[in-house]
């Protein structure tokens, strides 16, 4: 009977296959003591898990290591979760783990961690799924116990900050085994109303044990499924329940939840008054601006207006008319004076003045022509003599050219 002889590589592959296909070697929780913790340069961790008589290599990938809240030191008692792995090139069996916790936490802690991982994997805790809170809620639902100070605290804070809302209280049990069903029912009743803008799930202070019910899967799912955003105020500041992780916002106490839930009405009042002032200033500015614009336009219009031009022209005409008047009067005056003077001269020179003085005017009786000089007459010539009040016909008897008469004339 000859047996098949295989190579080492084939042995390795067979072992690997056996290890990785065995359901009993996967998804294990194992207790032990940690020794020889070695962080590698790439962030992976290598260590040994010691039992009483056995030890196993342990390896954790860097990504898993970053997620742990706890990293072991030499000698720590731990509980790990992982699967067996056979690395063929080294012929090395390891437990590749993704969770490491101090053993003291017990089974419940494990279960909690398992649940957390499961829900996280479903995306229930994703930031992207958290809803923003309404800025001005009108109705706020509160799921809490009627006993204790929670309702009173919330009422006090909301009453001070933003009394415009209505609080709708869904009484529930918030401790013990009955809590999950009660809280879920409260959430559902509030959501069924369709008028709730925001829900606060709250309980007063207590031990970790008291709060533990808020790790229940049913509550977590009910919070995620709520139409209204949920603020959870159930956990402690340091140790968050799963309800705190799934809620849209987390608060340390019910009072803080109330502060986060509503705006401050005093601030809003100030903003409104500020807005009133702003509107008044803007409106007044506008009116002033328009009035100034109107004034400027009116001024320009006046300057361009034909009425203004006419007025100007009228003034000019008036001026000219006055000047013309003055000039005319002056001219008339001068003319009158001239006329008067001329007229007096004329009178003096007029033959009538001569006649008035008692002289007579001689003309030829036949032709009517005046007699300029002695040379123009001859004896026997018939002359007419015009006197002041009549005329006569005279005949020349003799001429006299003696010097004495000539001289008298010249004087």
């Amino acid at each position: 009977m000859s047996q098949q002889v295989i190579r080492v590589e084939q042995l390795g592959l067979r072992i690997k296959s056996a290890v990785e296909s065995d359901q009993d070697l996967a998804n294990l929780w194992v207790d032990g003591e940690i020794t020889g913790v070695k962080p590698a340069r790439n962030g992976h961790y290598y260590m040994m898990l010691q039992g009483d008589h056995t030890q196993v290599n342990v390896m954790m990938w860097n990504q898993a290591a970053l997620r742990q809240k706890f990293m072991p030191s030499e000698g720590d008692q731990v509980t790990v979760h992982g699967s067996a792995d056979f690395y063929v090139p080294f012929g090395k069996l390891s437990l590749v783990i993704d969770v490491i916790q101090p053993t003291g936490q017990g089974m419940r802690a494990l279960e909690l961690e398992q649940l957390r991982q499961k829900l996280e994997a479903e995306g229930l805790f994703d930031e992207s799924r958290k809803r923003p809170l309404p800025l001005f809620p009108r109705k706020i639902g509160v799921v809490t116990s009627l006993q204790g100070a929670v309702i009173h605290d919330i009422q006090r804070v909301v009453g001070r900050r933003y009394p415009l809302v209505e609080l709708v209280i869904a009484p529930a049990t918030v401790q013990g085994d009955a809590a999950p069903v009660s809280v879920v029912e409260g959430l559902q009743r509030l959501n069924n109303r369709n008028d709730i803008d925001l829900i606060i799930v709250a309980r007063g202070g207590g031990s970790a044990e008291d709060l533990y019910c808020f790790n229940d899967e049913r509550i977590v799912r009910a919070i995620r499924a709520s139409h209204a955003p949920v603020i959870s105020a159930v956990g402690h500041e340091s140790d968050h329940t799963l309800s705190d992780l799934v809620a849209d916002l987390r608060a340390g106490t019910p009072s803080m939840a109330a502060e986060l839930a509503v705006p401050d009405v005093t601030q809003i009042g100030n903003s409104v008054r500020e807005a009133q002032r702003q509107m008044l200033n803007l409106a007044v500015d506008k009116v002033t601006h328009e009035r100034d614009r109107g004034d400027a336009l009116r001024y320009r219009l006046q300057r361009l207006s034909p009425i203004a031009a006419v007025g100007k022209m009228r003034a000019e005409v008036n001026t000219l008319a006055t000047r013309a008047e003055v000039a005319t009067f002056r001219h008339l005056d001068r003319t009158k004076t001239h006329l008067v003077r001329s007229s007096s001269m004329l009178e003096v020179l007029s033959p009538n003045a001569v006649l008035d003085r008692g002289y007579s005017i001689l003309t030829d009786a036949n032709t009517g022509k005046p007699i300029p000089g002695i040379a123009d007459v001859h004896p026997g010539q018939r002359l007419r003599a015009v006197l002041r009040d009549g005329s006569l016909i005279a005949e020349v008897r003799e001429l006299d050219t003696s010097a004495a008469v000539t001289r008298e004339r010249r004087r």
Partner: protein, 78 residues
Amino acid sequence: MTTTPRSINDMTFEESLQSLQEIVASLETGNLTLEETITTFKSGAEVARHCQTIIESAELRITQLDASDGPDVVPTES
């Protein structure tokens, strides 16, 4: 300019604040005519008064659902 079709007194608090914001913004742009400015301002003054009224007359109401399914309205003053 944005005006809500409903009467100002019907607006919720949130709508009033929103409207106030829009009115201030439209006055700030300076694109309104003189008439529009005055109308808008009057609107804004009313809305602001409405907000103040809501704030000043607000009283916290509390309703408690009772153990059975029907709500039991218990108006309480804070």
